[in-house]
Symmetry: C2
Subunit: 541 residues, 2 copies
């Protein structure tokens, strides 16, 4: 069953090997876990529901708790402590667009706040409802999960927006197709959630970001239905798809999505090579992307992440043999793992592999266990978040942040970000450990994704304070280098105060004007995307 | 010098061969030209300027006439008759963003209307100013045409938005790069114009539409400057680039554009093959695109366009020999020309050619003068619009319309569109001749571009009426089949009344909300994009 207070299904238990614990001790010193609340304890703290009656609502405390938060670090602390800042008054489970339309009208009549809920995997604070005098209803789209239409000729599949990754791919695989959208949250996250948070899948290099896969659909808003027709391209004015993409539930509820799908590829292969150092690795991925070699994914880990990954992936006994191989090939502790994928027809894959290999060789790539490590990556591609649990139980907090920026900005950014983050808690004498990778590479630039670990404090409050300090340092460094506040996680509440740096004052007023157009009473997921304090400071239209 | 009353530079004179005239006689019967106004006659009809004083303004009648219209068919009739419905009171030629900002403030102070002008090549009525009690100033961006910044690492070139195609490519070629954006209007149209009308270049298959090439820039609006930073990708809320794209001068004036450029390719080749018929041609381009074979362009002419193209391209004497070759290869009058391009490194081109050839062969492609006809296409790629002149002088009106739709909608559309258009003037006994091609092909669907010819009437008014009838039939057929009202020409005034069919009522109110946000006094290019009657019928926010 899905965990009420953490990531994923409780049948999957990640564990920390002894030598991982030793590594943590070396990096972070002695760590001590906080004690968690039991579900029973959490349930006892759930306040009575203020929801007006409606046949679709579930007001049971457990359902409400299970939809009270996402997976951001502050959300995690709420779940582990059982002390939620706020809990929705009820959860609605609509099964049709018409039911969502009815809910919209009902919400207006009863002046309640609506918070759309897809897979509940947000790591940016999209789901932790704000405290409000109005009742808050979370609208879970989970039951709208079917393939509604398939236009084979145009390769457009229409799904209920609440369909989860595996269900979506299974329904497509049955007819020989794939969407090819595989974010790390794939097991739990939904098609609608991907669209409204502008998600990016691990194989975006082949399939595109969700922006390229989302062809149209239906958005139910307080002002009515916005139907976006499916078109291959159009020059007819601003693109409304691009207003729905990234709207994060503030304009309405996406109920149906038309997605651009692809026949299942004949073959798919993943390989790992080792680059002599970070600079040669960056040069290689940049050259391959700018050279338009159609790989299906690339991920370049920095030396620290390479070291940690190998230690977590390769059994301890084999590691010393591997290290000898590295030495033999002239690789030092500066080496960087580069994993890449090839997807398509056998002919295409063969042709592209040749083209890619020429670039890799030119930049000094060494092949060691290339296929095996590539397969390991594939095997573990959705398993990262499960590690939060054993780390937490070992007294370690873990979080990630990410950005994207042009290549010219990325190189200086990479030079400082880890230093900034690892010294963020220096004044308090608290160590932070961080490592980084590039996983979405564009001709123009790249995403940069940093994972960091720190010891939890002796209380939840203090632990949250530690996180806030690190998050602030990270966000400010991202913004100062001209990076986007998020390449793939969205804005939510956690990033809202950094959005004006990217959109500008006039851009923010445009977003507010759109919000007013679709949701004049501001009942859709308030505080997300547009920070509340800014929202009240409304500029003249 | 650039023609004041038609297309392009007057040093290039297109001519109709005798057999083309014979073909016209066969198709349209006897045609008789209308008499044109001279520039002198037109100048005499220019009303006095009502423009308030400003140092950047040119109020000379010739400058005003030369900026009074674009290249739509109604624009053409105005230019040829010298009877302009309206002429701007002055033309401003700013050279810096600061000057545009100053103009904005001045325009507010003097309550004048501003109409941005790039290359003046619009074929959708973007530039023919509306009649208004307020003075109308056209803002020509032509002098803002320099490469302002080049980020080599990120392959981002920043240009003044008024830079024309050839000037842009020349400045890039000097440093070894290309934008690769080649609309048919390339010789005259501007980077800023491409962005605000969502232009598509002939090699969009490789380089993408302008949506993919436009990374950011500066929009000067009545409410201030909207700076869009250059980012490779972002999940931070709705994408403001996509609001500027297609804004058609209604939100402000784009002064600087950041463009994603590519190193000049090692090699580029164009080939033409002949498909047995339309259905096999469509199947081939669809399969190649859905198979992700990275060609740089594909254009499939229907049988009628194939016939006309060959007659216009191949000298009469050689045509009979060519026809024997066609017979020999089993090709009938149903054959369809398919021209395609390969661009990239020699290795890439060789690999992709192999992959494409397999598809072509499978669908029955025949190679005849493949390289020669491909080169002919390249040579004439920007010359089509010059043919308007000899046709007009021969008493023939010519116009085009275009759309894009999903493959499932395209096949039924193609079956009826030419029949609809060629019989549009049937009641009056007037013949219309039409032919069609697909030139922008996507996995999901395709553009469809129809050219039509009809005899001009005995007066300008009646000729305009003929055009209006055909245009209405064409537009209604496009919309009825679920096509976009424009794949590459934009909305302007000519398509504005069909936009609500695509955007919906709620979508239109969103566009109005954006317009109100940036231009509360509605002085930016009014009547474009949002039809005036609809605009006044403002819905509650």
């Amino acid at each position: 069953m899905r965990r009420w207070n953490g990531w994923g299904d409780d049948t999957h238990q990640a564990e920390l090997a002894d030598f991982a614990k030793a590594l943590i001790a070396e990096l972070l010193g002695e760590t001590k876990p906080l004690s968690d609340a039991s579900l029973q304890e959490a349930l006892e703290r759930v306040p009575p529901s203020r929801a007006p009656d409606h046949p679709l609502l579930d007001t049971s405390p457990e359902t409400r708790i299970r939809h009270a938060a996402g997976q951001s670090f502050p959300d995690w602390l709420q779940m582990r402590s059982g002390a939620f800042e706020n809990i929705p008054d009820a959860v609605a489970f609509p099964e049709t667009s018409q039911q969502v339309r009815d809910l919209m009208a009902w919400a207006a009549g009863h002046d309640v706040i609506l918070v759309p809920y897809g897979g509940g995997t947000s790591v940016a604070g999209h789901l932790a409802c704000p405290v409000s005098e109005k009742p808050q209803i979370t609208v879970a789209l989970t039951r709208m999960n079917r393939l509604l239409d398939f236009d084979k000729e145009s390769q457009i599949a229409t799904f209920g927006a609440g369909v989860r990754g595996p269900d979506l791919e299974a329904q497509l695989a049955a007819i020989g197709y794939t969407l090819g959208h595989f974010p790390q949250s794939f097991e739990l996250s939904t098609a609608g959630g991907w669209v409204v948070t502008r998600s990016s899948g691990q194989q975006s290099l082949r399939y595109g970001r969700i922006e390229q896969l989302f062809a149209g659909g239906s958005l139910e808003t307080p002002k009515g239905t916005l139907e976006i027709p499916s078109l291959p391209a159009s020059s007819a004015g601003p693109d409304l798809r691009e207003i729905v993409l990234g709207s994060e539930g503030t304009l309405g509820i996406l109920t149906e999505v038309k997605l651009r799908v692809t026949p299942l590829a004949e073959t798919e292969q993943f390989y790992t090579v080792f680059m002599p150092d970070w600079e040669s690795g960056v040069a290689a991925v940049q050259a391959i992307t700018q050279g338009r070699i159609p790989l299906s994914m690339m991920r370049l880990s920095n030396a620290t992440e390479t070291d940690v990954s190998l230690k977590l992936t390769v059994p301890e006994k084999k590691l010393s043999k591997l290290n000898m191989l590295f030495k033999l090939k002239g690789l030092t502790d500066q080496k960087c793992m580069l994993t890449f994928g090839l997807t398509g027809s056998k002919k295409q894959v063969a042709a592209n592999q040749k083209l890619a290999n020429a670039y890799l060789k030119q930049h000094g790539a060494k092949r060691i266990l290339s296929k095996m490590l590539g397969d390991k990556w594939k095997e573990g591609r959705f398993k990262g978040p499960y590690l939060r649990h054993p780390l937490w139980e070992h007294g370690v907090g873990v979080d990630t942040f990410e950005t994207a920026m042009d290549w010219s900005a990325l190189r200086p950014y990479i030079n400082v970000i880890e230093q900034k983050v690892t010294s963020a808690l220096k004044e308090q004498g608290i160590p932070v450990f961080a490592f980084t990778h590039l996983s979405h590479v564009y001709p123009q630039g790249s995403s940069a994704y940093t994972t960091y670990l720190f010891p939890v404090a002796s209380s939840y409050e203090e632990t949250l304070e530690r996180w806030k300090i690190v998050k602030k340092v990270a966000s400010e460094t991202v913004v100062a280098h001209g990076g986007t506040i998020s390449h793939q996680h969205g804005v939510g509440r956690d990033h809202a105060s950094y959005l004006p740096a990217e959109k500008g004052k006039l851009g923010m007023s445009a977003l507010k004007a759109l919000s007013q157009n679709f949701d004049p009473d501001q009942r859709m997921n308030p505080g997300v995307l547009i920070a509340s304090e800014t929202a009240s400071n409304t500029e003249p239209a």
